[in-house]
Subunit: 318 residues, 2 copies
């Protein structure tokens, strides 16, 4: 039973309360941003609840345990007319089931805008920075609201995770400057905490191939081509590739189930900042316009960012 | 020759310079916001030029003459890869020719988000307020940039025009509060200046029916239905309706030329805050779900806002 159904049962205020969530297959920035936004909304006098659209990955679990903060509850869908705030995403294909009929009150993001529409004007704020946590920092400043050590630690976690500790090409001077200020408020050494966080996320040992390709998978639709880009972080690409056959079987099942044209699975080496991809589906020709696949794989030198490097690679060749 | 072609000829910096524009068939807020944004960009050290995507209407002409400010130049299209900033709109159907291939660096708006997409993350800021001028006021505050009397007078003009001097249901407390602050900076009495401005916009005497229906027309596409909502302000609806036959002929020509499914022409009485609409096209059934048309017309009591009242009426019935 999801929380919305529960609220209907108790005759609650589901239409008044605002639900906040990041994207499906949530990463650390999506979950932290939802919790940060709940704090901001409450301080602005708005009843809002942070939620999540999927299970916590190991990195996120590590963060919430380390920080001693309860993670938000999981929801599967929203009822028509529900008030929602989107953080860390805007594309409907990555959002909650029922988003088309929801009342989108606000979105705060750091991704491109695509497959997003509202029927009414809304508050929207996007910045081309490394994570939504950094955008939210600006929102606190705009509203003159004090950032507590707890909120600062969540923002820092977003930055460390999404910028791969400042190594991703998505990282901006703004992320670095904000992180410095947050370190003081949270009293956390981001380099030490961040490396522990990233390493915690690379423990993939007990995941099935199905789980592995869904740790951080995002669905896209461009000019009628439906594709998924999944990504995992590791400190040893070869270790992951030992299971290539089983991973490919899981990917092919996903392609069949979702009717995908292309599935790109990126295995990213966070120490050396490279990625190996496995690409499957009837439209692998899109990938091969720039990278020859051998044994369904290609090595992408210096590539660590889905948003800034892998997605444009596909987007520009459709 | 448009200004982009001119720049190509002189081997200019067209790819570096950023072009700013509001929507096609520009209203006063679109033109003022482009000029305001040029000021903001320049003060942030970015080479940018305000432009417009159509002729000045009488209201806008009155404003720029009264304020002693040169209106921006008109452009028809942008070259692929051009840097652009969208103000007061986001829907591609209302934007410059070539927008699909442009590099959208920023958008600042107060409308719903629809038919808008970017390939890269960008700076975006939307607020559900009465005009883009009010959103830009917030941007100046965010960037700690002083608002000069000239910029204040342009923001005030945007507010007076788009909120019909605070009478439109799109007007918010924020618009009213901002206007009060701007009145002091600009040393302008908004009630006096605003009424002259709105009245200047209602002088429709020398317009042909074709010009009349294009004074402030916006194109929309919802679920495959292509429609236009045009609006004019007047102090005497009957005076405009004297030419109903000629107006209908002009609308029917427009429907044929653009392949529209529906054209709604709203004649808005700014003194009494009502509108009479003329609806033509093969999908007038959408309008008739809520308003019976007689002689192709319907009277909409208390309706003055396209965005907040007329568009939802159509949108919700498609």
């Amino acid at each position: 039973m999801n929380i919305l159904e529960k609220e209907v049962e108790i005759g609650g205020d589901k239409m008044d309360k605002t639900f906040i969530f990041g994207h499906k297959n949530p990463d650390t920035d999506s979950i932290c941003s939802a919790v940060i936004m709940e704090d901001l909304q409450k301080k602005l006098g708005i009843e809002a609840e942070a939620t999540r659209l999927g299970d916590l990955n190991k990195e996120t679990s590590y963060a919430f345990k380390f920080l001693g903060i309860d993670p938000p509850r999981k929801i599967d869908k929203v009822e028509p007319g529900s008030n929602v705030i989107l953080v860390d995403h805007n594309e409907f294909s990555q959002s909650v089931d029922g988003i088309e009929e929801a009342n989108i009150k606000m979105f705060v993001d750091h991704h491109r805008i695509s497959n997003f529409r509202t029927s009414e004007p809304l508050f929207g704020f996007t910045q081309p920075v490394g994570c939504t946590g950094t955008v939210l920092y600006t929102l606190y400043q705009m509203n003159n609201i004090e950032i507590t050590p707890k909120i600062a630690s969540l923002m820092l976690t977003s930055i460390a995770s999404d910028t791969l500790l400042f190594k991703s090409p998505t990282c901006t001077k703004q992320d670095i400057d904000v992180a410095k200020k947050l370190e003081k408020i949270a009293n956390i050494d981001i380099n030490e905490y961040g490396m522990d966080l990233l390493k915690a996320g690379t423990d993939l040992s007990d995941l099935t191939p199905e789980q592995l390709i869904n740790v951080d998978a995002k669905d896209f639709e461009v000019n009628g081509v439906n594709f998924t880009i999944a990504q995992i972080n590791t400190v040893d690409i070869d270790e992951v590739l030992k299971n290539q056959d089983a991973i490919e079987e899981a990917i092919n099942n996903e392609i069949k189930e979702k009717g995908l044209d292309l599935f790109v699975f990126a295995i990213t080496d966070i120490l050396n900042s490279n990625s190996e991809i496995i690409a499957l589906g009837k439209r692998t020709d899109i990938v091969e316009k720039t990278h020859k696949l051998e044994n369904n794989r290609a090595f992408l030198e210096g590539v660590v960012s889905r948003k800034k490097q892998i997605l444009p690679l596909i987007n520009n060749n459709i």
